[in-house]
Amino acid sequence: MDMKVGKKKLGLKEKYQHMTRGLGWETTYQSMDDVFPFVKYEGIKIHDWDKWEDPFRLTMDAYWKYQAEKERKLYAIIDAYAQNNGHLNVTDARYLNAIKLFLNGISPLEYMAHRGFAMTGRQFPGVGARVACLMQSLDEIRHAQTQIHSLSNYNKYYNGFHDYRHMLERVWYLSVPRSFFDDAVTAGPFEFMVAIGFSFEYVLTNLLFVPFVSGAAYNGDMGTMTFGFSAQSDEARHMTLGLEVIKFVLEQDPDNLPIVQQWIDKWTWRGYRVLTLVGMMMDYMLPKRIMSWKEAWEVYFEENGGALFKDLARYGIRPPKWLDQIEQDKDHISHQAWATFYNYAAACNFHTWIPTDDELDWLSQKYPNSFDKYYRPRLEHWREEAKKGNRFYNKTLPMLCQTCQIPMIFTEPGDPTQICYREVDYKDNKYHFCSDGCKEIFEHEPEKYIQAWLPVHQIYQGNCFEEGVDPTAEGFDPLSAVLDYYHLAQGRDNLDFEGSEDQKNFEAWRGMATKNAA
């Protein structure tokens, strides 16, 4: 970068003081409680908002300058990538399904984060906290937009990218990331900050952006690499803010500790469940693999998270609950998730497949405790069946967890051959859960979670068909009606990668890119 650095009139600390203090005031026409109606009901006590400090001491003027520079870099690369038919340089067309998942499942969360931080910033009486929320809100909308712009280039050529907005609120598996964020933005402002600012940004997003985006680079996807790293450069600031929030809140009043601890337990577990999707992307959907989900988990969660919670112990914070289960799960969840999507490929907006022999060997090597024993034989069996023309598509609908909304696919801690079921009777109904974590989260706020929009229930209740469709008509095909409702075309957007339009087109176009026409 060729940026001229002028003589500074104020040092960083002084500038931060001037640009984030004295901008607020005690209101007199309306009471402060009416102006900031949500800041007290969660029970968090704040005595002095001026104790809030952004460790980077970033002010709005510097923010615009650096963000503009990031955008110029990003768009130069995105343009070059598109002009150069960069999509034909990805390792192979299976890779595209990982970024379909990204656009459909993750980019809309960036947009929700934008809304969440805008709402939360509005609720905080302290100016430092509001400025930080404003910046993060702008960052998040930038992430949503740059991801949509970058990935729209793929939409010109490949299937499944065409209607992510519509699908987010309908497609069964997308209710998992969507309900996660809906849960956070409908919480109070402090819980939102702990949920997204701390538990998601600090403890978990490295797993999404660092190894996965580096993996995108490794697979020739310059577009994803660029928006990924550009977003991640903001994440460093978000992580720092997330940690600052925790420290600030805990230092303000000892009564805040149990409330914050409960939120950390809840949101680490909620976020961890959502990341199952990322585990599957890393282990199964990157043709060239950079590290396994388990390795990434060990580096970014166990090592970094361990250091973090050791540091926070001075405030009385202990590591999140259910870590012993999480520790065992790292050998299993990516395989259990891929098996599920392989099963339900007929109802998906991306393709699945059985890994090649090389890839199976890689998984065997990375997961010596679990893969050969529990997962490889099943994949090989499905491969044999597919060769005989019986590619397995599951036509039944799975039971979903009331809290995380993931199908009940996870196994008992200590027994990978037994599906884990928990249930709770509440008022007149029975509710089902995938784990002790999700069950306990429900029990703490049952009135919130009984309102969950569970895709399977909704399909059975007849709420997932286009208007005018008559499910009692003769020859009614529920799957086909649900696909219409999702805006998915049977045989084009769903099913196995083998034989897909994406596979054929990619092969033909790559051939055209490297040879002259006959």
Partner: protein, 89 residues
């Protein structure tokens, strides 16, 4: 002791920044990964403006780091001259 890290994109802007960080933190370990480097250090890590300026031959504002930063851990403290990452435990 716990480790802190800083991860930067691999590009022409960061070549000297990485060099400066490694010079100022002899205990740090540099991991090269596709398109990025991750610098791990026991306890704490300091990024010093003066060292970077010496290597790039121009004035440098430490906040320029944000442009090529991927991620970091630890408690952050930034002044005009230094960015420090550290754990207290």
């Amino acid at each position: 002791m716990s480790k802190v890290f800083i991860a930067l994109q691999t590009n022409d802007d960061t070549r000297q920044i990485i060099q400066a960080i490694l010079a100022d933190n002899p205990h740090a370990v540099c991991n090269e990964q596709p398109a990025m480097v991750k610098i791990d250090a026991e306890g704490s890590l300091v990024v010093r403006r003066s060292t970077i300026e010496e290597l790039i031959g121009r004035d440098f504002d430490l906040q320029e780091l944000h442009i090529n930063l991927i991620s970091l851990t630890g408690n952050v403290d930034e002044t005009d001259d230094e960015l420090t990452l550290s754990w207290n435990a």
